[in-house]
Amino acid sequence: MKRRNFIKTAGLASVLLSTNAKGINNILNSKFNKLVVLHTNDWHSRIEPFPTDKSRNSNKGGAARRAGLINKIKSEESNVLIFDAGDIFQGTPYFNYFGGELEFKLMSAMGYNAATMGNHDFDGGMDGFKKAQKYAKFDFITTNYDFTNTILEGRTKKYKIINANGIKVGILSANIELEGLVGAKLYKETKYLDPVELANDMAYKLKNEHKCDYIICLSHLGYKYSGNKVSDITLASQSNDIDLIIGGHTHTFMKKPDEILNKNGKKVIVTQAGWAGILLGRLDIYFDKKKKFLWSESEFV
């Protein structure tokens, strides 16, 4: 008996020793019951770090550093998804001279899974976006922009579903009103539809028809406003099925994400990671795996 125990312990130890951090994490977190969501917003073509000077953002940010950090996290975690909440374009001459193709190439190389469009992503016009999009190997989600009869028709998606090793993640977006914010020549016949209504409809569909376990909204509405302008806080409080809102537009640095009660009294997480790639937002979401019988509503863990 003693000998058996020894073999067991030694066996476990050797498993632990022979696996890397990722392996240990998999064992500790019952393999794929954990999702790591990384996110950025408003990185505004900040390819290189800010110049080193006396300003507040001196030497912060930088795509190569961000990619290095993503690599490190991916070496430690099995279930990593990366999103961006828009305004990828505009802010450094990289955009003015190369029209955004470098930004998209880098995001593709970093393994972004999806992004949404911010108002500044129209700054090169519809054709500018279309040209740059050739270099994007990830999807753009624009749930409440209607691109019918424009050159972007069919080039973005209303939603996306990612099967993250069994965890079904539904992605939708909430996009900002363009009128008054972007020159009409730039967005042409793009129609802005009610973000709250469309996000809710899509979230319902993802949850109930597509049976998604977790619903993420990539939002470029902005964190919150003093007036009536629709924001992430408005959306969260008027939603039913959204679990997480990854925000942008207002360049908000938060100490921690907000937890807003939705229409059903359920918590919705509202987060945003500053701007310019100064931060990489990270959420570690732990799930309980449950099973459902076809003939009953009872469940067991």
Binding site: K54, R65, Y97, G166, G180, F287
Partner: protein
């Protein structure tokens, strides 16, 4: 006993084939800083994608387009702000052929605290004005302008061209003079500014529905043009504080 085991096995098979789903147990959050501490793990592949773009861009951006005397940004009035607003006013009237009463630039739109004395690169102008803001000519009545001046006063003073003089008292503008004459609430004025403000940006929503002419000239290109123009004449870009905006406090 054997039968029971078979049942358990059977039940187990059923369980494993039935639908599984996930509910959130807990969520942890971090905002990870992207700074020089990550230099040791920088992604080399990303750097190699950037490299050819950077080489091309640096060559363009390091081009010297002129020379400057020291200019800095401050409120209510500053040398950098005055230089910019004057340049915009000059170019706006040259380009539109209209008489421009004054030009104004929102303070937040100036993205450099200073321009050091010496050579000015093209890149410096991009840093000063990274946004794609287009020159807009606005025709507006004096009573709307009063609201605009009050808004500027509330922000502590915005860069404005030399034809204007006013004072800030608390968060209001007073003693407003345009071309040496007091602001006439009933008169019509022509002003030059960015599309961002003309479209109601920075809480200037009262400008939103005014008669406007949107050009396709970037404010940045106006500044670049001005630096080159001065350089061609052998001049530095320079400016001085001349009491356009005075803050009297409360």
């Amino acid at each position: 006993m054997k039968k029971l085991l078979i049942y358990i096995f059977f039940a187990g098979t059923l369980f494993s084939s039935c639908k599984s789903y996930y509910t959130v147990n807990k969520t942890e959050n971090q905002y990870l800083k992207i700074d020089k501490k990550l230099d040791s793990i920088k992604d080399q592949k990303i750097e190699s994608i950037i490299a050819p773009y950077k080489t091309k861009l640096d060559k363009k951006m390091n081009q010297i387009i002129g020379y400057a005397d020291y200019l800095n940004k401050a409120r209510p009035e500053s040398t950098l702000g005055n230089w910019m607003a004057d340049a915009i006013a000059q170019k706006a009237s040259e380009l539109s052929g209209e008489k421009i009463d004054f030009a104004v630039q929102n303070y937040g739109g100036l993205r450099l605290a200073e321009i050091p004395a010496g050579p000015v690169t093209l890149g410096k102008m991009y840093e000063l004005m990274p946004f794609q803001n287009f020159l807009t000519i606005l025709t507006v009545k004096g009573n709307i302008l009063k609201q605009f001046f009050d808004r500027m006063a509330d922000y502590g003073g915005w860069p404005i061209s030399k034809s204007v003089k006013y004072q800030i008292s608390g968060n209001k503008a007073k003693n407003i003079y345009i071309n040496g004459k007091p602001l006439d609430l009933n008169a019509t004025y022509t002003i030059a500014l960015s599309d961002y403000i003309a479209n109601g940006g920075d809480r200037c929503f009262f400008l939103k529905n005014q008669k406007k002419y949107l050009t396709d000239i970037l404010i940045r290109d106006i500044l670049i043009e001005k630096v080159k123009e001065e350089n061609a004449k052998g001049h530095h870009i320079s400016s001085k504080i001349d009491g356009r905006v005075i803050n009297n406090g409360k």
